[in-house]
């Protein structure tokens, strides 16, 4: 089991707190001229994304979290789990619905995703920031309207629903920003 001392703290370091893996967002060394030294850190819980502040006495040690970040290719969904593969080693990984929360609406087979592994199992799957997806369902397009004003819902091939301009038709390929869940353009 490896540990880090507070003087190794820096942004991006993965540590274990109360049994959960966290990443350090910010670290500040605070020491009164006379008195106890502290490291005041902002940490993000890698399971639920919540950011909290924690205070450590300087020189305390904290357990390291076995966390890796990999670029994996999405293979298929078997109805319960999502399967991914490391493209160079062909090693396969299985993500459950919780890990898929951010990605499930956006990814298609063969897309590449950033996967956070915790103790060698996928903890969370990040979709690419932009994806290109076909429209499978929407009200008929309004010819000549290219203003983008107003808009209507459209269902995409992955099942996600986004607001699109009125001129979009079934079968159009759209570019979508997965962070804001917003239509960007026709692809």
């Amino acid at each position: 089991m490896s540990t880090y001392s507070t003087n190794q703290f820096k942004g991006g370091l993965k540590i274990l707190l109360d049994g959960d893996p966290y990443t350090i967002v910010e670290n500040e060394f605070v020491k009164p001229g006379k008195g106890q030294a502290f490291n005041r850190v902002k940490v993000r819980n890698l399971k639920n994304g919540r950011v909290v502040e924690r205070t450590f006495k300087s020189n305390e040690t904290v357990e390291a979290a076995d966390v890796q970040e990999l670029e994996l290719q999405y293979l298929y969904n078997d109805g319960e789990f999502w399967h991914f593969m490391e493209p160079k080693t062909y090693e396969q990984y299985t993500a459950d619905a919780t890990a898929m929360e951010a990605a499930v609406d956006w990814i298609k087979e063969e897309d590449t995703c950033t996967v956070i592994l915790y103790n060698a199992a996928p903890l969370s799957v990040e979709p690419p920031n932009f994806v290109e997806l076909l429209v499978t369902e929407t009200d008929p397009g309004v010819r000549g309207d290219t203003s983008g004003g107003g808009g209507k819902p459209a269902t995409l091939e992955t099942g996600a629903v986004v607001r699109v301009p009125l001129f979009i038709n079934i079968g159009d390929k759209l570019k979508v920003d997965t962070r804001s869940r917003e239509y960007v353009s026709r692809a």
């Binding site: 003087n7 001229g33 008195g35 106890q36 030294a37 502040e53 205070t55 006495k57």
Partner: protein
């Protein structure tokens, strides 16, 4: 673009030339201020046969055929020996070293301005700190507030620290700071409150002083009524800039504090340090009634320039030194 291999240090200074020029002007201004007031500049050893016993300060320890030598974390003890020998008012501008203090506002080697005034108490020395500042930086507003330490705790946490116990202090801090290390003692909790909660709010407009610290935070100050230490600190823009004392003169009390320090170091598994017997001998001979203060010159300079880190005014901070 500078070429950097992995792990190599950039050869260029961190501070810009304009900042280094400002720094030089500040140092020159400090010397003029004290010369005008008849305060003698002194130079005391940076490497000496004893180190800081304070459990919260780690001196660097070196060694050669003459024996161990500690890099000084402050020139305090040597300057007090000069005072006991009859130097009168003295100041020193020079380097101080502290292990494992590294961050935005810390560098393991830093520049201290330290001065001592016979016949001053801590309030009169606060006046002179303000006079120095105004002489060098005339645009700062006058009438700096002075807050009693206990008053700040009453205002920020609705706590009477002269009576509340450790559990009440911990509970009050938990609301504002979240979970704190479970093994912090009362003094550690007070440090957390000042360092993380109260201090960062202080001196947002003009600089301000905090004075009358609890006895357990006396360090080298006199303690009145067994409860309040005649100690002060200067804050500006949430950063602690200076620490001063109405100096302890009682040799037996100083010996007791050294002993308590060394015991605390042992309990915390920290390295033993040789306490300064020469200081004790000087106190036994007699230290004049005096007040002294140490001001972090790098921090002062950085804040005056509106910088948000020490490296802005250091030619070569630790990662380039």
């Amino acid at each position: 673009m500078s070429r950097r291999g992995p792990g190599s240090r950039p050869w260029r200074p961190a501070a810009g030339m304009a900042a280094l020029k400002f720094r030089a002007e500040l140092l020159a201004g400090i010397r003029v201020f004290f010369a005008t007031r008849g305060v003698l500049e002194v130079t005391t050893p940076v490497l000496a046969a004893s180190g800081a016993t304070d459990p919260q300060i780690e001196s660097f320890l070196l060694e050669d055929a003459q024996g161990p030598g500690w890099l000084q974390s402050s020139p305090e003890f040597h300057m007090k020996r000069l005072l006991a020998a009859g130097s009168g008012a003295i100041y020193q501008l020079g380097p101080a070293f502290r292990q494992e203090e590294q961050g935005r506002w810390h560098n393991r080697e830093f520049t201290l301005l330290e001065w001592y005034r016979p016949d001053f108490d801590h309030h009169r020395l606060m006046d002179e700190v303000q006079a120095l500042w105004t002489a060098l930086v005339p645009e700062v507003a006058p009438n700096w507030p002075r807050y009693r330490y206990a008053q700040l705790f009453a205002d920020a946490l609705q706590l009477d620290i002269s009576h509340c116990d450790t559990a009440a202090l911990r509970a009050a801090l938990h609301n504002s700071l979240g979970e704190l290390p479970s093994d912090l003692d009362r003094s550690g909790l007070l440090d957390a409150a000042m360092g993380l909660l109260i201090g960062p709010q202080l001196g947002q407009d003009t600089p301000c002083f905090v004075y009358d610290y609890p006895a357990e935070q006396a360090a080298l100050a006199q303690v009145r009524d067994g409860q309040w230490a005649s100690r002060f600190e200067l804050y500006w823009q949430g950063i602690e800039l200076a620490n001063g004392f109405h100096e302890l003169r009682d040799a037996s009390e100083q010996r007791r504090r050294f002993g308590a320090d060394l015991q605390a170091r042992k309990a915390q598994g920290k390295a033993a340090v040789k306490a300064d017997e020469a200081l004790l001998a000087a106190l036994e001979h007699g230290l004049p009634d005096c007040a002294g203060v140490a001001l972090g010159v790098d921090r002062w300079c950085a804040l005056l320039l509106g910088a948000d880190e020490l490296a802005a005014v250091l030619a070569f901070p630790a990662d380039r030194a």
